[in-house]
């Protein structure tokens, strides 16, 4: 008999973060309409993976380096940089859109985390990052 197949989970979102203007380095606070409050990292549910499809960044009056970091246990973090992007002052970078996505996971115990960090010579609150992330069931 015909039975309905449950689809594989896939949640595609864009998160937005901006430097805070008071620190030279830090983790971006990431916001999305479905996040009740912003978070500085995202835990990937058990058995699922994440694809980072694109990252768009703008720098303000200061040069800024953004980095994508992962950690196998976000509850006791030791972050590893997977990719970083250097932006000269007042510049714009659009990364990864036409290339294969960055894949993170699968999450072995639900504690795998991803975060975006920034680093600036002089702090400003003008450097923005938008990332399109898919959390999916492989």
């Amino acid at each position: 008999m015909h039975k309905t197949r449950t689809p594989k989970a896939s949640w595609l979102i864009t998160v937005h973060g901006v430097t805070n203007g008071s620190d030279k380095t830090g983790s971006l606070s990431l916001a999305n309409d479905f996040f009740n409050s912003a978070v500085t990292y995202i835990r990937i549910p058990q058995g699922l993976k994440a694809r980072i499809w694109s990252v768009e960044m703008t720098a303000g009056t200061n040069a800024t380096t953004f980095a994508l970091q992962t950690c196998p246990d976000a509850t006791s973090p030791s972050w590893t940089t997977v990719r970083s992007w250097y932006l000269a002052a007042n510049s714009y970078v659009e990364a990864e859109k036409m290339k294969r996505p960055i894949v993170v996971g699968p999450s072995r115990d639900g504690k795998l985390g991803i975060q975006f960090t920034w680093s600036q010579g002089s702090q400003d609150a003008l450097a923005h990052l938008n990332a399109t992330i898919e959390i999916y069931e492989p």
Binding site: H2, T4, T6, W11, P45, G110
Partner: protein
């Protein structure tokens, strides 16, 4: 080659004239029904809104808190009259089945269905899913979508669980059909359905727990529970069992 896909349309809803088979694991019976009419044909979308649950913290309607799960929830709808308002698909209508697909955003949330409400229908070798493990290593859930077949007097409860570190807002969409059904009372047709000789859509309701109001449901559907005979059973023997159940 039997084309099983034509039994449902592109939304997964059973086409007019085809059977929907309700399967009850607790007594290993089926109720085969023919879809006579689809009353909302072409208008199947129901944009519901957030999941009707408000946690203690954060006390925001529709949010599933980080590393937490909702209580067992039914879908209220304030525009309905007071009797149907608390659980909009629950009904006691004759020859009626609401066949719904519930789509949950974010798709990464775990969906646990409870049929009937208050029980844990899924099981793995005698073990039932635990609420305490809803965000841990666990089984018996789907993500993104759940199929719900609201036969008369059958109440579903839904639990959503959030494994992430984010307090997640939710959004629920239903794609549903209101069927007018006819019990299939011809033993040979039922045999053909069980043996996969005619296309039919099957949906399981519940697990090893007896459905509340199971008898009332049968009365309202004008139906009888037919044993779900193993497909290796010889035709003559199977036919005899079906005929006995129909008497």
């Amino acid at each position: 080659m039997l084309n099983l896909d034509r039994v449902v349309d592109e939304k997964g809803l059973v086409n007019i004239g085809f059977p929907i088979v309700l399967y009850f694991p607790f007594n290993n019976t089926i109720v085969p029904l023919k879809v006579k009419r689809r009353l909302n044909y072409g208008y199947e979308t129901f944009e519901y809104g957030h999941f009707p649950y408000t946690p203690v913290s954060p006390a925001v309607a529709g949010v599933i808190p980080t590393l937490n799960y909702s209580t067992e929830t039914v879908f209220s709808y304030s525009r309905l009259d007071t009797t149907t308002q608390p659980d909009m698909f629950y009904h006691a209508d004759k020859d009626t089945v609401f066949h719904a697909y519930m789509y949950v955003t974010p798709e990464i949330l775990r969906i646990f269905t409870r049929i009937p409400k208050g029980t844990t229908p899924q099981e793995f070798r005698g073990v039932i899913p635990s609420n305490d493990l809803a965000t841990s290593i666990e089984f018996g859930f789907s993500r993104g979508m759940a199929e719900l077949a609201y036969a008369p007097k059958i109440r579903y409860g839904i639990v959503l669980a959030n494994e992430t570190n984010i307090d997640l807002q939710t959004y629920i969409k239903f794609v549903y059909a209101q069927y007018e059904t006819d019990f299939i009372d011809d033993a040979q047709t039922i045999l053909n359905i069980i043996k996969d000789r005619v296309p039919a859509h099957m949906t399981p309701l519940g697990g090893t727990v007896e459905q509340a109001n199971f008898g009332d449901m049968l009365d309202l559907l004008g139906a009888k529970a037919i044993p779900y005979i193993p497909s290796y059973t010889p035709d003559s023997q199977a036919l005899q069992q079906i005929q006995e159940a129909l008497r």
